[in-house]
């Protein structure tokens, strides 16, 4: 009757409620019954409303993808910190060395989560911001602030390869 | 010598000064897009200011208010962007 993924989403929402409202306190051992009941009702409503958005029916090997995503996040955080110093340098320099341009490239990613992760990563690492994404061909339209940042995306393609490795879409989705 | 309350006061004053800097762009910016971007920046600064004020007055309730305001600011910016792109909010 109820699928496994729906129960998983309900448990995640209920744990979120418990963490926000502190109704179960493991150290002192007392719990608040009214808030637990209200929390279960609210988690059920939130699950039924957002179930169609989160479960697309094309999920497989989710556990491995989640583990690879957890390994990808520290690398990305280090890139963000490193390259934010670059933007601070460009802002505070008296001559302001910028040379903006708009570039366009194709990738091999096709699913929603993969495109969103790559678009967010491009927007967070300084030098580039995503303007538009086309899901059919994986085409990204990107505004770059200097030629060094644009080359890192066009020529090296480090970030696309890492995201494709996380979501296992390495050789094209067609 | 000095306590942690002084640190949070310094943080609050710096954020207030930054908000004043952004107000110039919100008033002057040629065109409506610069003004929307400046208002979005002021909104995200207010979130951090609320957390700092919560530490100054020693009331942990301000973090919940900051969480709510973060959601409101995000939805407001998205609705403004959709209206500026299409000319309408809901196509019903």
């Amino acid at each position: 009757m109820m699928k496994r993924s729906t129960v998983a989403i309900f448990i995640v929402m209920f744990v979120f409620w418990v963490l926000l409202s502190a109704c179960i306190n493991p150290l002192k051992g007392h719990y608040d019954l009214i808030r637990i009941v209200v929390g279960m009702i609210c988690a059920a409503i939130a699950t039924s409303v957002s179930r169609d958005l989160l479960i697309t029916g094309k999920e497989d090997m989710t556990l491995r993808k989640t583990l690879r995503l957890l390994l990808y996040i520290p690398w990305e955080l280090w890139q963000i910190v490193l390259a934010n110093f670059d933007v601070a340098y460009r802002v505070l320099h008296p001559k302001m060395p910028i040379d903006p341009r708009i570039i366009e490239f194709d990738t091999t990613l096709r699913s929603d989560f993969a495109l969103t992760t790559l678009a967010n990563s491009i927007t967070l690492t300084p030098g580039t911001i995503t303007i538009d994404v086309e899901p059919e061909r994986g085409r990204f339209l990107v505004h770059a602030i200097a030629s060094k940042a644009a080359d890192a995306l066009l020529v090296d393609q480090t970030m696309q390869k890492k995201v494709a490795h996380v979501y296992m879409e390495e050789r094209g989705g067609e | 010598m000095f306590e942690m309350v002084d640190v949070f006061l310094a943080v609050g004053v710096s954020i207030g000064f930054t908000i004043l800097l952004c107000l110039y762009r919100a008033v002057r910016g040629p065109g409506v897009f610069n003004q929307v971007a400046a208002v979005n920046v002021i909104g995200t600064k207010v979130i951090v200011l609320l957390v700092a004020i919560g530490y100054i007055f020693e009331r942990p309730m301000f973090v919940d208010i900051a969480l709510l305001y973060a959601g409101l600011n995000f939805v407001g910016t998205l609705v403004m962007a959709k209206y500026l792109e299409r000319g309408e909010i809901c196509s019903a």
């Binding site: 963000i80 927007t123 | 957390v51």
Partner: protein, 107 residues
Amino acid sequence: MLGIGVTDIISIIFMAGGIFFMVTGAVGLLRFPDFYTRLHATGKCDTLGEVLVITGCMIFQGWSFVSVKLFFLMFFIFMANPVGTHAIMKAAYYTGLKPWKKGEERR
């Protein structure tokens, strides 16, 4: 002697770094010559500055329910700010705002 410990010094360092990035983001909003480049300055420096300040507050607090709420707030800002920046940049691009090339005048 001073009344503050090692944890407090680490959180002060994080908060100072965060404030530096936030002020840089606001200065970039004033200095850059075009709308698209201004979004570069705020969408990135702002987000990182806020993440650093809230991490400093989390380290100061220790393990309690308040720091879990602060972690959720930091995660939400980390995800939501780039999405808002991208939405408004896409709206400006498809309404016809022209980007700035090197050598033109300020707008």
